[in-house]
């Protein structure tokens, strides 16, 4: 298991942290931020050199994701630079150049309502139409959807589950904000024109989803870390009954429990990344396990972050609640943490 970052990775981490702390402006447009991501090399960091990438892997991408999570950066870094990039790497590597340059932002539109985290649950139908294809079905909770210029869409053909490309112009997008205020949407396909990328794609889709489960977990660890830091600082600032609330033993123990959860989460992310890199039979099980542990830890750390702040923690003006909201969205995605426990149970050695 890889634990320590190498020198280059430390440099990238520090640069990302600086950018998040000093420059990432919550009001800046995601388009502007995206140009910056490209310039800093983050969109190529996890891709091999032979397609023009920096030669890194999921470990590198996770380093960036964690830093972006600390600052609740809304741009869909993981969705484009990890999930979609892995699929293009498998099926259309020539398309990666535009992605890495920040010119194209494809997103995977795969999850359907009620799939319960099962990557093989696809009801969207594809039918052949002349040279092309037409898709019918609804893909849900596509994070960052309003920013995408194209969607990689899973759909069922007579032969199995294929992967198609649908341009954002030709598809109907039902846009909304998520509970954590990130832009998202449902892709509503009503006989929508599509191009076939791969006829038999379930294996690669599952692999890309595993990447997403794990690298988003790294992002969530960043979200948690900031919530934890803010809470620790607050215990050292807020006074009640004539003393710092950090002097109350009940809160000291809670803070210790939060830290233990945070550390467990941080560790299992490394275990999850290791499973992605080894790409062995247990990859999906470990990815599910990573998701579960991080989601549960995140729920606890976020909720207790609010609790230890008292009334202030309940306000939209103070950031700890925003971290909690993003951690809950993280917990709910991909069928929810409880369903991921069941997936793990289905896959584990017995």
């Amino acid at each position: 298991m890889r634990v320590l970052p190498n020198e280059d990775q430390v440099m990238f981490r520090d640069a990302a942290r600086r950018w998040v702390e000093q420059e990432a402006d919550a009001d800046a447009s995601i388009a502007d931020q995206w140009a910056k991501f490209a310039e800093l090399g983050w969109l190529m960091i996890g891709l091999p050199e032979d397609v023009g990438g920096l030669g890194g892997d999921a470990f590198d991408a996770a380093i960036i994701a964690e830093e972006l999570g600390r600052g609740l950066v809304k741009a869909p870094f993981v969705g484009v630079a990890v999930t979609a990039a892995q699929l293009l790497l498998a099926f259309a590597p020539d398309r990666l150049e535009a992605l890495m340059a920040g010119e194209e932002k494809p997103l995977l539109a795969h999850v359907e309502m009620g799939a319960g985290g099962d990557p093989s649950w696809v009801e969207t139908q594809a039918v052949k139409d002349g040279e092309g294809w037409r898709l019918t079905g609804t893909k849900t909770a596509v994070i960052g959807a309003p920013l995408a210029d194209s969607f990689l869409v899973s759909a069922r053909t007579e032969d199995g589950i294929g992967l198609f490309e649908v341009s954002a112009d030709s598809a109907k997008l039902r846009e909304y904000l998520l509970i954590d205020m990130r832009p998202a949407g449902d892709l509503v396909l009503e006989g929508t024109e599509a191009k076939l990328l791969a006829a038999d794609a379930l294996g690669e889709i599952t692999r890309a989803v595993d990447f997403e489960l794990v690298v988003e977990s790294a992002e969530a660890v960043g979200v948690m870390q900031t919530a934890f830091d803010m809470t620790r600082d607050y215990l050292n600032t807020r006074q009640q009954y004539g003393k710092l609330i950090g002097q109350f033993q009940a809160l000291q123990h809670r803070l210790a429990d939060m830290f233990i959860e945070l550390e467990q989460a941080r560790s299992i992310v490394l275990r999850g990344l290791d499973a992605l890199l080894r790409d062995e039979a247990d990859r999906s099980a470990i990815a599910a396990a990573t998701r579960v542990k991080v989601a549960q830890a995140g729920h606890f750390v976020g909720a207790q972050g609010i609790q230890l702040h008292g009334g202030i923690g309940m306000t939209d003006e103070f950031p700890v609640g925003h971290h909690f909201r993003q951690l809950i969205a993280f917990e709910m995605a991909h069928g929810g943490a409880s369903r991921q426990v069941e997936r793990y149970a289905e896959m584990m050695d017995v």
């Binding site: 309502m113 309940m314 409880s338």
Partner: protein
């Protein structure tokens, strides 16, 4: 009348009087909506039911505590707007216990009819858990008090006609000993209300600033410097109503409703044994909690003073169960719970082509706002301190 008769009568009354769209709004569980609260309180008032828990001489219906729980449960499950609790359960009892005849005559009927709704001005920026260190000053000048200071977390201050406040009238002796209980008309010059938006995106909380606000001395409740004692005694009286059992039952029933419509891999979620097990686990918790509540109520009625710190037990377990049930509601929704269903878009209307499923709006907002249950009314940390202190006293 048996309890079951009462239950049937309440149900029939609701069926006849609660407009369907109001019930639908109530079930979404966004923040209280004043027009609905006023409408429904008036309806109840006509029936003599708008002050459950009050003595008959002040307009109460004369119910036992268990009957009052039945009433509240039926109302909650049906989606009735909640009677504003600040008037009904907080200031009302203080006024009829410690107020002057004039105060009783002026205020109690208007609480029952919702002509006045009330806001509670206790907490301050530096006086939260340590409430007794509050600083808002009230200085006597002739037959008036002049009030200066700031309150915070003041629920519904923006929509209330009156405020009941704890103010400092003396800085001598113990800090608890210099606090008085004052009623203030929110229209009085010098009051500024500033909204605080909470993490669910809703507006219930406020900051309230007082600058040379002149209040008739006749609005003092009881004796000067005795406010702390009144507030404490009467908050304890409310012990069994922070147990939240009605809310638990409402949540359980909604979880099952959602699970009947939601699908998991093509089968109704309600048939998924893993999910049912999680519902069952929480339903068991609710059964034990409700039994504790019934036990406490019965012991109280029999005049047995239990040694256990029961109000704090009910509060801790009740509020934490609401939060766990809220998480299970989100789980039942799955991806349909991920969109932000803003109150402004989904409370009075539903937008065209909404995402998710029909039962989803309001659930995540409620989940987020209910994080506050373990903070207000004495934080759960403070409640656990109380439990332990009482147990160790031996």
């Amino acid at each position: 009348m048996t309890d079951e008769d009462l239950r049937q009568e309440v149900r029939a009354f609701i069926a006849e009087n609660l407009p369907a769209e109001m019930a639908a709004r109530g079930k979404k569980m966004y923040h209280p909506y004043k027009p609905d609260v006023v409408f429904w309180t008036q309806k109840l008032n006509e029936k003599g039911w708008s002050a459950p828990g009050w003595p008959v001489e002040y307009g109460g219906p004369g119910w036992t505590v268990p009957q009052r729980h039945i009433f509240e449960e039926e109302c909650f499950l049906a989606g009735c707007p909640m009677i504003s609790p600040q008037g009904l359960t907080l200031v009302g009892p203080i006024i009829y216990t410690y107020g002057t005849q004039e105060q009783k005559d002026t205020f109690l009927p208007k609480i029952r009819s919702a002509e006045h709704t009330w806001t509670q001005g206790f907490s301050e920026p530096n006086a939260g858990s340590d409430l007794a260190s509050l600083q808002t000053r009230a200085v006597r000048e002739g037959d008036e008090y002049v009030v200066n200071g700031q309150k915070i977390w003041t629920s519904d201050a923006h929509s209330s006609e009156w405020a009941f406040m704890l103010v400092r009238t003396s800085t001598e002796g113990k800090k608890q000993a210099g606090i008085s209980f004052l009623l203030i008309d929110m229209e009085t010059p010098g009051i500024t209300v500033r909204p605080i938006i909470s993490i669910d995106g809703g507006h219930e909380l406020n900051e309230v600033f007082f600058e040379d606000v002149r209040v008739p001395a006749a609005n003092l409740v009881g004796e000067e410097n005795m406010g702390w004692t009144y507030a404490k005694e009467l908050l304890a009286e409310e012990r069994t109503f922070s147990a939240e059992v009605k809310r638990h039952k409402g949540q359980l029933s909604r979880i099952k409703d959602i699970a009947r419509t939601a699908n998991l891999r093509g089968t109704p979620l309600i048939e998924d044994p893993h999910f049912l097990r999680r519902v069952a686990q929480l339903e068991i918790e609710v059964l034990a909690h409700e039994a504790t509540l019934l036990r406490v109520v019965a012991e109280e009625q029999a005049g047995i003073l239990g040694a256990a710190p029961t109000p704090s037990i009910l509060k801790v377990r009740g509020t934490e169960l609401v939060q766990r049930l809220g998480a299970l509601m989100l789980e039942a929704l799955g991806e349909a719970g991920m969109p932000y269903y803003a109150e402004k878009d989904y409370f009075l209307d539903t937008p065209d082509d909404p995402p998710g499923i029909p039962g989803a709006p309001g659930i995540s907002s409620d989940f987020f706002f209910r994080r506050s249950l373990t903070i207000y009314g004495g934080t759960n940390e403070v409640q656990r301190n109380i439990i332990a202190a009482q147990l160790l006293r031996g």
